[in-house]
């Protein structure tokens, strides 16, 4: 269709052009671009599985039109870590036993990453508020809670 247009944004550190369809949502664009780590769970901004970071903030990519990413800095789970460079949040979740089915995990990592980048010493209440939008049906949140507090506690000495 001739109604596609080109936008440009930085994705996981690389500036790229994307052809987008009218009304296309960011999550659809990411997934069809091969970045399938961003998950779809509700398509209405209620479950948090699609969370990515846009200019350092946690954003629900299932309700963000792709064109709004134009000129901005988008980071997805693929840009956070890999087998040879596991991010401390990912490592903490793995170590605490907070990854059961793992479908909500990438979105949770992105919420936590945005929070800790803004405030490495996030309070318990910060953790509750910033991850409140990431639904998990497997863990009961207990081990996620432990993991994120461990990340915060590990951050503290660096602060001092």
């Amino acid at each position: 269709m001739s109604t596609t247009r080109t936008i440009t944004f930085t994705l996981n550190g690389k500036k790229r052009d994307f052809q987008i369809a009218p009304g296309e949502l960011l999550v659809k664009l990411l997934r069809r671009s091969g970045l399938t780590g961003t998950k779809e769970g509700c398509d209405e901004g209620t479950c948090g599985a699609c969370t990515v970071n846009v200019d350092g903030r946690a954003v629900l990519s299932c309700i963000m039109p792709a064109f709004l990413a134009h000129g901005r800095n988008v980071v997805t789970i693929e840009g956070v870590g890999d087998f040879d460079r596991v991010h401390p949040i990912q490592q903490a979740l793995v170590d605490a036993g907070a990854v059961q089915c793992g479908y909500c995990t990438p979105g949770l990592v992105m919420s936590a990453k945005a929070m800790f980048e803004e405030n490495p010493a996030a309070s318990d209440e910060d953790i509750r508020v910033h991850t409140d939008g990431n639904l998990c049906r497997c863990t009961g949140y207990e081990k996620i809670w432990t993991a994120l507090r461990n990340v915060r506690d590990a951050n503290k000495p660096a602060q001092a």
Binding site: E44, V86, C104, C138, T139, Y141, E142
Partner: protein, 775 residues
């Protein structure tokens, strides 16, 4: 087998898939979508009960980009059940890929596969359907009324095993048992109660909705990648429904984004398979969240009558339970869920007189299915509430009443032999039982002694503590089978191939631990592949709390066979007798200290040196028992007496699951189940309009708990050793969800004296209860 000298089992080893999942690697069904895949969309019934007078698909078929349209007129008409159970299934054959009649709002009418989701959506809208509306049946009471409309009047509807099935009366299943005479015991009893409870419909809410992808491969076979708990049942039932030979179908289960029973259902495999088979293009179908609520599966709501009687000493003399479940429009798991309401709850307390009936009725509402807890959740709410009520009547601490009556090691219950799944049950004596310790440790952790009497509590915010006891099972005895295949690689690693289905529980890791412990290596040397009907041996799948106990025994046996073969090769290499050798840390040592070989040496020798053969083994296991895990749950709540708002302050779950093969994962099972149970008790519910349409099909209006709602949780694992389980293990996955409804109901009563016999416990209900008090 030594009980405690575990090297791998009972250790918090690395969960095999945790890191790849946390890194967001492509592991789930939709992540494998090829660029040329078509998108499928379904057309849903807008009516609760109607006959399709005509369908015109011509406009949809002509739309550019549309490749296939399916409806009842162009697919095989084969009665089947979507319940992913063993063959022949205990659920009635009352479902078709598409039917001429629709039976609930959200029933399947037609399917489209098209180049884009937008085209598929437009094509679905272009299908013209003329309905003749029938009177809907929207409650248990309406279904059982004389002269009620018959929901399944199709001639094909039938039970395929010899069980009562009366669709003309809207009855999908009936089961029952009697020991002694409950009526008589009630008649003369000084303490007795006869109460009715209602427990509601709910959805599993896996964060990954149902999703299936299918393509026809280069050999002309249909490959179905699907998020399922039951790959082998999915192959069998999808093949049956599509009328394609089983050998033409391959089902692959990648990682699953949660299931909780919803994915024990063969829901999309037939229609996606058929779309791919007809269009010869890959086809992907993923449910939206609304579809997951309405057109997936739910927990069967139940209306439950409990009768209890006790003698003058306060000893329980009779337990009677009559459960009527609402199976919705189709009878998926109708018989077995309501049967489990008896079989997984009644054996918990000793009483000479026991009565049970279970009835499942059809209604024009969303379809019931398997849901973690599987009938036990429903009945545990009723019975454990009633036990508290009886304790108050007798004037005894409900903890003491429970402690005095619960089943113990070495004891049996007539219920085990009477109630099976679609047939008689299997007699069993309880092996391990750590319930006493669960009660003791749980009571201490919650501060049971401080609970006090509600009549003495003052102030606007009042706290209360409640408890309950629970049991479940571990697999379906004499029915379920799990198999495992192990082979050794040349570096001393092993491939473990299983049909067992890790749906996020960590069973791949748990089973790798069992294999490693049996062989004498570490779990990181076990490469697990599950599940693929072309590659892995059969397994019934992930349900009935079976994987660790059932498949675990198959893995243990295969591991021991491998160990024997390794010792044989090493004996040849070392010129010793196998009996003179022992395995430690992936090495074979001569007991006399004269030498050793590594697993790698053994593997290389077996593959390349002399008398070459593949060190490999396959084992199958069927269970002869279903040893119950036990648990004691305690909830502390705070009730706002002005608004009825209730908050869970603290929740303690003490669980006896035998040996916890992986303690952290076992805790995770309990915590996840408990949290699910807490929001089920308080906020989750289906709201329908008068025409049977669900009004709250979104996480915005169907509230599941998030991080901020999490109360303080204490999880206690009480180790016991179940002799029939692998390294002493029993199940742990389901039991935890059964506790919050009764524990919270009992805590609310302890806080404010309001007894809620209808779940969920909304502020409105509590507030109304408080008003009645004050009146």
């Amino acid at each position: 087998m030594a009980k405690k000298n575990f090297k791998v089992v009972n250790q918090p080893v690395k969960k095999l898939d945790a890191l790849p999942l946390a890194l967001g690697k492509p592991l789930f069904v939709a992540d494998f979508k090829p660029a040329d895949a078509l998108y499928a969309k379904l057309l849903w019934s807008p009516h609760a009960h109607a006959i399709i007078k005509s369908i015109d698909i011509s406009a949809a078929e002509k739309m550019p980009g549309v490749h296939c349209v399916l409806y009842h007129g162009n697919v095989p008409r084969i009665a089947h059940t979507t319940a992913g159970q063993g063959f022949p299934e205990p659920s009635p054959y009352d479902t078709f890929m598409f039917d001429r009649k629709v039976r609930y709002v959200g029933d399947r009418v037609a399917a489209v596969a098209a180049e884009t989701p937008e085209i598929a959506e437009a094509a679905v809208k272009a299908i013209k359907v003329e309905y003749e509306r029938l009177e809907p049946v929207l409650s248990i009471e309406a279904a059982l009324k004389e002269g009620s409309p018959v929901i399944h009047d199709e001639p094909e509807a039938r039970a395929v095993i010899p069980v009562p099935y009366e669709p003309k009366k809207n009855i999908a299943a009936r089961v029952g048992m009697d020991v002694g005479n409950v009526e008589q015991a009630m008649a003369g009893a000084p303490y007795k109660l006869d109460n009715s409870y209602y427990i509601h419909m709910a959805q599993h809410c896996p964060i990954e909705p149902h999703v299936t992808m299918a393509h026809v491969n280069a050999e002309g076979r249909l490959v179905i990648r699907t998020s399922t708990q039951v790959p082998f049942h999915a192959r069998r039932i999808a093949a049956q429904t599509m009328d394609i030979p089983v050998q033409q179908v391959r089902v692959i289960k990648p990682r699953i984004g949660g299931g909780f029973g919803a994915k024990q259902e063969v829901l999309l495999e037939d229609v996606v398979g058929m779309l791919a088979w007809r269009s010869r293009r890959p086809v992907l179908l993923m449910y939206t969240r609304e579809e997951e609520f309405v057109s997936s599966r739910t927990r069967h709501p139940e209306r439950i009558r409990v009768r209890l009687a006790a003698d003058p000493e306060g000893t329980l003399t009779a337990v009677g339970l009559d459960c009527i479940s609402n199976t919705g429009a189709y009878g998926a798991h109708a018989l077995t869920v309501v049967c489990n309401s008896g079989s997984k709850v009644l054996p918990l307390y000793r009483a000479p007189n026991v009565h049970f009936t279970g009835t499942a009725v059809y209604t024009n509402l969303p379809v019931g299915g398997a849901y973690r807890g599987y009938g036990a959740t429903q009945a545990a709410f009723a019975v454990e509430s009633a036990v508290d009520e009886l304790a108050e009547q007798i004037g005894v601490d409900p903890l003491v009443l429970r402690s005095n009556h619960h089943i113990r090691s070495g004891e049996t219950s007539p219920v085990f032999a009477a109630l099976g799944e679609g047939k008689a049950g299997v007699e069993q004596a309880i092996g391990s039982c750590g319930l006493d310790k669960c009660i003791r440790l749980g009571a201490k952790a919650i501060g049971w002694k401080k609970r006090g009497d509600w009549r003495k509590k003052k102030g606007r915010y009042r706290r209360g503590i409640g408890m309950c006891c629970l049991m479940q099972g571990s697999s379906i005895p004499e029915i379920d089978m799990g198999a495992a295949s192990l082979k050794m690689n040349e570096d001393g690693s092993f491939n473990l191939l299983m049909g067992a289905t890790d749906l996020g529980t960590g069973s791949d890791t748990v089973l790798a631990q069992i294999a490693a412990e049996a062989i004498g290596t570490t779990s990181d040397k076990i490469l697990v592949y599950s599940s693929d009907t072309d590659m892995t041996p059969f397994d019934v799948g992930a349900y009935a709390s079976s994987t660790t106990y059932l498949t675990g025994n198959a893995v243990l046996d295969a591991g021991l066979k491998i160990k024997k073969q390794i010792l044989g090769v090493a004996a040849e290499m070392m010129e010793k007798k196998p009996a003179d050798l022992e395995i430690r840390d992936a090495q074979v040592f001569a007991r006399d200290g004269s030498g050793s070989v590594t697993f790698q040496d053994v593997a290389l020798h077996s593959l390349y040196a002399a008398n070459q053969f593949q060190i490999a083994a396959i084992s199958s296991h069927i269970s002869h028992k279903s040893p119950p895990p036990f648990a004691a749950h305690f909830a502390e709540v705070e009730v706002d007496t002005e608004t009825g708002l209730i908050r869970v302050v603290k929740y303690v779950a003490a669980t006896d699951c035998g040996t916890a093969i992986h303690p952290k994962l076992a805790e995770g099972q309990v915590e996840g189940a408990v949290m699910n149970g807490i929001c089920y008790a308080l906020t989750e519910q289906y709201l329908f309009n008068s025409a049977g349409r669900m009004l709250n099909d979104s996480f915005l209006h169907y509230k599941i708990y998030s991080m901020r709602d999490k109360p303080e949780m204490v999880t206690i694992l009480v180790p016991t050793y179940e002799k029939t389980g692998p390294f002493g293990a029993k199940s742990v996955s389901e039991i935890g969800i059964n506790g919050p409804c009764p524990a919270i109901a009992n805590a609310i009563y302890n806080a404010v004296g309001v007894r809620l016999r209808e779940a969920p416990f909304t502020p409105e209900k509590i507030w109304r209860g408080l008003q009645q008090h004050n009146a």
